[in-house]
Structure formats: C-alpha cells, structure tokens
C-alpha cells in the first residue's frame, strides 16, 4: 500500500511539475514579440563558428517568441571583408539585418586584411564569449605559471608554445599578453602555429610543443578527460564551469582577455531599430530556449551593448594593437 501511495504521490508531483513547466513555457511563448523578423549575415561559409553563432542565436530568438522569424545568409570571402563591404554599401536597405562577427574583426582590421573596422558599422551587442587559457599535458613537470616562467627563462626559444592561429593571430597574442604581463619579453616566445585548435592539441599531446594557448571551453573539455592541466585562464575570476583552474590574475599576472562574438548592423541605422535589436538580444538570456542553445554549444554569456560594446572594442583594439606593434606585426 505504502509503495502505491508514494508512487502516486510521485506521479502527482511529476504531473504538477509538467503542468507548471508547460504553463511557464506557454507564458514564454507569449513573451512579447520584439521584432517581426531578423536577417543574419554570416561572413563565412555554412558550418563555421560564425555560422553556428548566428543560427543558434536565431533559433533561441524565434523559439522564445522574441523574434517572429529569422533568416540567414552566408557570405564568405576576404576573411569576412566581403560581408562588411556588403553591410556598408547596402546600408539603406538593411534595416532588419545583423552581421555576426568576433575578435578577428579587430585583429584583421589592424593588420589591414580589410580596410574597414568596427567603427564603420552600427554596434548592436556582444552576446557570447570564451576566455583563453594556457595548458600543459597532465604529465608535464610544469605545475603552475611560476613553473612555466621558470622553464621559459631556462630554455629560451627551445620552449615552444603552440596555438591554433597564425602568428599574430588570437592564440599567439594571448600567449604574448601573458608573457608581457609576467614581465618577460614577448618577442622571445617561440610560437608554433597550427591550422586549427584540434591540431594544436594533438601537437601538445604528442610532445611536440611544451604548452598550448587555446580557448577555455576546449581546454575544459580536455582537462575533464584528464589529458591537460590548465595553468591559467584570462577571466577576472574563476569560472563556475571548472573552478579548479586558476586565473592569471591570482598568480600575479595581470591579463584579462575575452574572445567575444557579437552582432553588428548597417551604418546609420535609426536609433529605434537598434534598440529593438538590443532589446531582443538582452531579453534572450532569460529564456529557456537560449539556455538550451547556450548549453549545447558551451557558450559563456557575456553581454555588452551599444556604447559599452564600443568602449570594450576600443580597449581591445588598443591592447592588441600595442602588442602587435611590439611583436613586429604592424
């Protein structure tokens, strides 16, 4: 008898949860629609990181009811330059269009891959981001940043640090930022470039390189498999997703860096349009639809809109520009 009772109670509880859950969801579906439709321009081909960000965001916005419908357009070419050009040249007809972009827009306009910069566009919002990390294999003798710096001082340019970007690209710059903040000469760093983060990780685990500069989400995935040790992360505080990884700041190295992804609109877009877009993005964080997409992709919520976004980008441009000049890339 007792078991039936408990089972019934459990069933009742479950039904109640489902009922509450569905009302909550129904309410969310009725969440006030902020925009009728939103068009995403992706500066690269289908299947890349930008593509995933645009489609994931669009999925969350439409599923939550904040935006009526979303459409996507892939426009590859010129390392993203073709899409930026398109946004500027067709500005008048692009009133419900956003372009996805990320940290490389800052780096590539500095190196002159394309002549424009984020200043030529309307800044809508930075929506997600990933911190960077320095990792070593689990069986490495290096236990922390002090150990890494000691090895670097001893071995000089025999000490190889790899990454999944070109020299002067993001992974290199993060490693150099850390070295500079630790009082070392960043030009002495022997940076070994790989074609992609995965290849660089293979290089680290085969023993070809001594340390690796990579994105935090990739680093956490391998640390959880006990393949690498995270020596430091570029966040201001430890992240809840993996709180045994120390920050650089707590080891006396003053480095913070966010690889952001965000959205830009055509230049000269009317204020009310921009604020409607910003409203849609900022309300998106509270929805289940977004949480589902975010968790599936392992993204970190980092929201920055309008003027805050501008000052963030300007600071990043300043810091990266200084470093690239010091390293001889500009």
């Amino acid at each position: 008898m007792k078991t039936t009772f408990t089972r019934r109670a459990a069933l009742l509880a479950a039904t109640a949860t489902i009922a509450f859950g569905s009302t909550a969801r129904a309410e969310q579906h009725m969440a006030e629609q902020v925009m009728e439709d939103l068009h995403f321009v992706v500066p690269g081909g289908a299947g890349g990181g930008w593509d995933g960000t645009a489609r994931g965001t669009g999925e969350a916005l439409t599923n939550s009811g904040l935006v009526g419908s979303a459409s996507y357009e892939n426009m590859s070419g010129g390392g993203g330059g073709t899409a930026i050009n398109y946004m500027i040249e067709n500005a008048e007809s692009l009133d419900n269009t956003v372009m996805v972009n990320s940290t490389p827009i800052v780096i590539r306009s500095l190196t002159g891959v394309f002549p424009q910069s984020f200043r030529d566009l309307t800044l809508v919002a930075g929506t997600i981001g990933d911190y960077a990390a320095l990792v070593v294999p689990t069986d490495s003798e290096i236990a922390d940043m002090d150990g890494l710096l000691a090895t670097f001082q001893e071995q000089g340019d025999d000490f190889a640090v790899g990454g999944g970007s070109v020299p002067g690209g993001m992974d290199h710059l993060v490693a150099a930022l850390v070295m500079r903040a630790a009082g070392e000469d960043p030009t002495m760093l022997n940076y070994i470039p790989y074609d992609a983060g995965g290849e660089a990780m293979a290089g680290l685990l085969s023993g070809e390189i001594d340390a690796l500069s990579t994105g935090l989400s990739e680093a956490i995935a391998l640390a959880e498999q006990d393949e690498v040790r995270i020596l430091g992360i570029t966040a201001a505080e430890r992240v809840p997703a993996y709180d045994s990884a120390p920050t650089f700041a707590e080891q006396g190295i003053d480095t913070e860096f966010v690889n952001w992804r965000g959205f830009f609109a055509a230049p000269g877009l009317p204020e009310e349009q921009v604020s409607a877009m910003q409203e849609a993005f900022s309300k998106m964080y509270e929805t289940d639809a977004w949480e589902e997409v975010r968790a599936r992709n392992g993204w970190v919520n980092i929201y920055n809109e309008g003027e805050d976004f501008r000052s963030f980008l300007e600071a990043q441009e300043q810091e990266i520009g200084d470093l690239m000049r010091e390293l001889g890339f500009l």
Binding site: G48, G49, S76, G77, V166, G169, I192, P193, E208, F329
Partner: protein, 505 residues
Amino acid sequence: MLEGILLGLSAALSVQNILMVVAGCLIGTFIGMLPGLGPMSIIAIMIPVAITLGDPTAALILLAGVYYGAIFGGSTSSILLNAPGVAGTVATSFDGYPMARKGQAGKALTIAAVASFAGGTIGAILLAIFAPALSSVALLFHSAEYFALMVVGLSAIAAFAGSGQVFKALLMTVLGLILATVGEGALFNMPRFTMGLMDLQSGISFITLAMAMFALPEAIYLVLDPKRSETGSSSGKIENLRFSRAEGRAMMPVIGRQSVQGFFIGVLPGAGATIASFLGYAVERNIASEEEQKEFGKGSVKGLAAPETANNAACTGSFVPLLTLGIPGSGTTAILLGALIALNVTPGPRLMIDEPDIFWAVIISMYIGNLVLLVLNLPLIPYIAKILTIPRTFLIPFILFFTLMGAYIGQNNSTELLMLVGLGVLATIFKFADYPLAPLLIGFILGTMLEDNFARSMQLYRGLDFIWERPMTLGLLILAAVLVLLPSFRAYRARLKARGVADGD
C-alpha cells in the same frame, strides 16, 4: 574503446543516420551505374547536400554510402553492358560480361552482389581492428612525421599511376600543390598569390575545385564526345538470380583472400579500388588450377568474384589513413577529407578520442550499408538496371544543375561560379589530353598540410635537422624516394631490354 563503439552504435542506428545510409547507397548505386560517372564525381556533387545537413556524422555516413554504392552500381553496368561505370569495376567486366552474354546475367549480378557484400563486411571488420591500432601509434607522430607521410602519399600517386602516366601524374600533383598556395596560409599572416582579389583571400574553395575537376568535365565530356552518350544495349534478360552450391564453394576461398588483400591495398596511399581489383583478378588467375584458368575471361565465377570482393574491401581500407592520420590515400578520400574539414571536423589520430561517436558511427554504418546494398539490390537488380536505358542527354542537365547550384549554395558567392566554370574548362582540357585529375586534387589538399608541417618542423628544429634526428621521418622519406624512382627505374630497364632485342635483330 567499448564505450566509443556503443556511442557509435547508437549514433549509427538513429533513424536519421540509417536513412542516410539507405539514401547514400541508393544514390551511389544509381549514379555509379551510369558509365562515365565515377565515385569521385558523385561524391563531389553530393558534398553541398551533405554539408547542408550540418551534422558531420550524418554527412560522412551519407558520403561513405554513396562511395560504396557507386562501386557496387559500377559493377552492374560492367556486367550488363561491358561499360564499367567506374574504373574500380573494369576488371569485373572481364568475366561478368561473358557470363551475361551466355544468358546468365542474373547469376553474374548475384555473384557480384554477394562478393561485394563479403568484401565490404570483412573490410569493415579489419577497419574496426586496424584503425584504432594505427590511431594510437599516430598519436606519437610529430609534424616531421606528418610531413614525411605526406611526401610518401604524394610519391605513391606517381608510383601507382598507370604506365606512361607517371610524369603526367607528377605534373598534375605539382599543379595541385601550386593551387594550394593561393590565399592566407595557416602559418603566415599574409595573403599570397591573390592578385589583389578579395575573393581569393581565403584561397580556392575545395568544394569548387572538386566539382570543377570531377563533375563539370563529365558533363562537358558527354556533350563533346557523343560516342559515349549512346545508350548501350543490355546483353540479355535478367532471369535466374541463383548460383549453384558448387559455384558458391569455388567462390569462398577467393572471397576470403581478396577481402584481406583488397583491404590492405586500399590502406596504401595512392592505391585504391582500381588497383586492388586488377591485382585481385591477376592473383586469382595465377593461383587457380589449370582447368579453371581456361575459364578466366570466358565467364569464370572466380574471375568475377575476385575483383568484386577486392574493390569493395579496398574502398573500406582507404578509410584507414583518412580516419587515423587525416591523410587521404585516394582522390575519393581526398574529397571526403575536404567535406569533413568544411564541417569543422579534423580527422587524425585525435578523432577516435575526441569524437568517438563520429569515428565509430562511420565504421558501423559500413556494416549497415553493405547489408542495405545486398538487401536492396538483390531483388531490385532487374528494375534498377533499367536506368541504363535512360539516354545520356537527360543526364547532362542534371549534372550541370547540381554542380552549379552546389558551388553557389554553400558560400552564396557568385565568384565561386566563375571559378567553377574557369577551372572546369581547364579540367576538361586536361581530360581530353589524358592527364589524370585525381593527383591534382590530392596535391591541392595535401599541399597546405605539407607546407604547414614542413614549416613547423623547420621552426622547431631551426632547420632541416629533423630529417636526421627523427629516424621515422628519415625512413618515410627514403620510402618516398624509392616509390618515385622505382617506376622510372623499371621503365629504364624495359628500355634497355627493348634495345637489346632490337640490337640482336
């Protein structure tokens, strides 16, 4: 590893992926049957479709299904028309066509189906054993070894090129390497050879190049060479699908030997289904009894089963270097590699560890695919064979449509269309001049990796010292040199011999 297999099993058995296997096998069989359209053309046409799926597992399963479906379909036209749809089934026509002319077309098709099934399934078992083993060794490879492996791969293309084709194959490989240098490299912060054009900044798109090399020229070739557009006349009715028990017994040892031999030939870079099937045919003829030898070429059961087993086993074998080293051993696997990279998957030794679901789902889907091919094709063969009577004029617009749409859809960039047409015309000229196109594509896809790994090794060892300091690198480079020099040495000896005969005259 068991966990990975289970993960792959659940992925491979999802409704979506089973649909992909069935769809891939059917599409492959249908198109592979049409003379002139090889697996490379079909896969090139299918890439945009696969990439739109967005899920790398589903995409790879679809493309792999198309691959062995095409080899399977190719044998049907070899047997019925004496017009092999793909090069890997040329040897099938040696005994399959005579058998069909004797009124035993149905039996020939059944033997081909059973032999293909056995070759593919045994190949998949060997793949499941050898791929993880090779993967764990490859985890220790440094850039220097990868560089040397790629040199071996490029040399093997020349070594396995047909007689009189060695020089042409080398030239086309070099052309592929040259094309690969366009755009921003992974190791330099500077665009190269873009002629100031923004559209060349990220280099030549692999998908565009693959379709320009393997899909467009086929269509143009069919238009320009009307002889090939004639429909063949089927060589008799397909009635009795059965073969006798004695014939079954004769086939067994052939299937056993050829699935193993074919698999290992497929693993070798540069060699593939074509070489495996010819070699399988030759070996079986040599070891057959004198009486059976007379049968070869006149409709021998063994002569049909050998190449059919070997080519399917070799298809499966060619996935070993692709999945474990990230190095394509053939034109077809080069196309598959390009598709994977476009889907953000980096094949290599880490694939099995980082994405076991993809790795194992693909292997398991091969068992399912072989079963699907057998079940679908045995009862349907008489009906499927009807496709052979479709005039080629209907086919050409389809190829053109899929090629042009495919190049545009993925990128939404009209420049891709111009490049596709330009490169396609170039490829057609090469085709008419009898230059092989696969080496160009392999050169193109290996070119970037070759350069990256070379430059990385140079930077790590501050020069070329890695050649002497890493014994495995040295060994592989010596192997590459032997592979390139061997055919020319043989040709030289043959010339000497020929002159000797002439002198004696």
